[in-house]
Amino acid sequence: MKIDDQLISRLENLARLQLSATEKEGLKTDLTNILGMVEKLQKLDVEDVEPLVYLNEAVNRQREDVINNQVDREAALRNAPDQDGTFFRVPKVIDL
């Protein structure tokens, strides 16, 4: 896969990042190297190997349906960049 300027700007947009020209060049090199390694891995024959998704074998970490552990509003809003004491306040976004 070719890492070009168009792909970098798409990723930039998806990750909501604003990168400088130097950062973009650096990222292009890094991503090319990473994908190069992935391409190498893809050459391996893994026909009979189950995909490894979870790093341990635990299943069913579930909880009972009870109310607990809520935090109050003041604590919830405390670390927000902007708030009005009731709501989190953010720049207006409607279009996704």
Partner: protein, 477 residues
């Protein structure tokens, strides 16, 4: 050219659990903003989600009702997108291995049954709420809803009209209410749907490009949005164009759909397995246990009312639209054997009472035994049907501590079977109308109804209609 509308639905059902899908915040509707939150629902780093068992049980209940295949091993995925009311930057959902696959639901459209196939059902969590219009250029975020447990039911594109969409949503709402897994209330957002709408020439065996109309939270809006969207697509195709596959928003105030996501990149959700939640592994025994506890389904209850209790199809329909009346009837039918009378009492008095008072049936101050007594008074001819319905029932509501028989007694509503009193009433009615008597005697036998009415008037409804009829016939000759 004639076009056919093709619609598939994504129905979101908010579950009536106590707590959220992956953490223990309350999900009670209508609480003050940002008071039902925690480190997990706020998306703070270093927190771990844990699945609510109840959500899983509810998913299985729905799957059993729809005849879906249950994936005994199912897993969660992250759906990544940026939005201010999604604190983690991803929604936890099920993509690759959802909890249920397949199934079907039967709906009645214009009197005819139609089967709609289910593609799959998956568990997921809701986002928070944004308020946009109060203070430009800001949006305000309430995260109480963030993490609320949802089931998403995805249908096959089997629907052909807005009427079928309506029928499916109504049937689904009835089903989730019977299953006790959701209140199915569209106004409060407990049930919403996204409609995937496309058109194709009638009879074609391919599908046209589809547009997804988002977040329709009432049937009226869904109907309008579909009608508008179909006309829009037909216009494009007729003009030789191609319908672009996109996500649309429906504005109820203008009745128009507009593209919601201008950047196509936003569709790139980059799903990947959710590493914070281990797989769900179910056993057949667990599923069997849930099956054993399943409430009766609407179709089964309706059938029971018709076959076991001999109700008319019409009455059975009226009593089974919602689960509460059906359950109330079944309980009442244990207290009386006059099933038809019980159904009529519910339809004409008890259901209207609940509606007018805005109270659930369980809040009726009268016991099943009292209602059975009311029915018995009519059936045994002690109180006339009209007095019972017009007077006695409200009197019982106003004085629930008194017996129905006692109320009828003190208010002088008991039907008279005193022969002398009855003869007097008959006599009065006859002597007042000598012309009508002559007419009757010369063959106008239909006038018996008129005399009946007169006797009832004179007796203030207390005369036993059977006896009056007999006396009148004897007297008039």
């Amino acid at each position: 050219m004639t076009y056919e509308t093709v619609i598939g639905l994504e129905i979101h059902v908010q579950l009536s659990t106590q707590s959220k899908a992956f953490c223990s915040d309350s999900i009670q509707f209508g609480s003050a903003p940002n008071t039902q939150v925690s480190a997990i629902s706020l998306g703070h780093p270093g927190t771990l989600p844990r699945l609510n068992k109840q959500q899983l049980d509810y998913a299985i209940r729905l799957a059993l009702a729809l005849g879906s295949k249950i994936n005994l091993r199912n897993t969660f995925d992250r759906k990544n997108y940026f939005y201010a009311d999604l604190p983690k930057g991803y929604q936890i959902t099920q993509d690759a291995q959802p909890v249920c696959v397949g199934g079907e639901i039967e709906v009645i459209v214009e009197g005819k049954p139609k089967k709609i196939r289910i593609h799959h059902i998956h568990m997921e969590e809701d986002a928070g709420k944004s308020m946009h219009d109060s203070d430009d250029p800001y949006s305000y975020i309430d995260l109480n809803r963030a993490g609320t447990p949802l089931l998403e039911i995805v249908t096959e594109p089997d629907l052909r009209s807005a009427a079928e969409v309506d029928a499916l949503m109504t049937t689904m709402r009835q089903l989730v209410r019977y299953l006790n897994i959701s209140d199915g209330n569209m106004q409060e957002g407990s049930m919403r749907c996204d409609c995937n709408v496309s058109i194709r020439p009638l009879g074609a065996d391919y599908y046209g490009n589809r547009c997804e109309v988002k977040n329709l939270n009432s049937m009226r809006y869904a109907r309008k949005a579909i009608q508008y969207e179909v006309q829009r697509q037909i216009k494009i195709v007729e003009a030789g164009g191609t319908v672009a596959q996109q996500t649309l928003n429906f504005d109820p105030s203008t009745g128009v759909t507009t593209p919601l996501r201008s950047k196509e990149d936003a569709h790139d959700y980059r799903y990947f397995p959710e590493p914070d939640l281990p797989p769900v592994v179910l056993t057949e025994a667990q599923v069997a246990a849930i099956k054993k506890e399943m409430p009766d389904l609407p179709k089964e209850v309706r059938q029971q009312l018709v076959t076991e209790y001999q109700l008319s199809e019409y009455n059975a329909d009226l009593l089974t639209v919602e689960p509460e009346p059906a359950r109330f009837f079944l309980a009442l039918a244990k207290a009386t054997t006059s099933y038809d009378a019980a159904a009529n009492l519910m339809i004409n008095k008890i259901l209207p009472w609940s509606k007018e008072e805005g109270k659930p049936l369980t809040a009726l101050p009268l016991s099943y035994a009292q209602l059975a007594e009311f029915i018995a008074l009519i059936e045994e001819g002690k109180v006339s049907n009209s007095i019972a319905y017009q007077e006695l029932f409200s009197a019982m509501l106003n004085a629930p501590e008194q017996s129905a028989a006692n109320l009828a007694q003190v208010n002088n509503w008991l039907q008279s079977d005193d022969e002398d009193e009855m003869s007097n009433w008959v006599e009065t009615a006859i002597t007042d109308f000598p012309d009508k008597v002559k007419a009757y005697q010369s063959g106008k036998k239909g006038l018996i109804g008129f005399f009946m009415g007169e006797v009832m008037k004179v007796s203030k409804g207390k005369a036993d209609p059977k006896k009056v009829n007999q006396l009148l016939r004897e007297r008039l000759g």
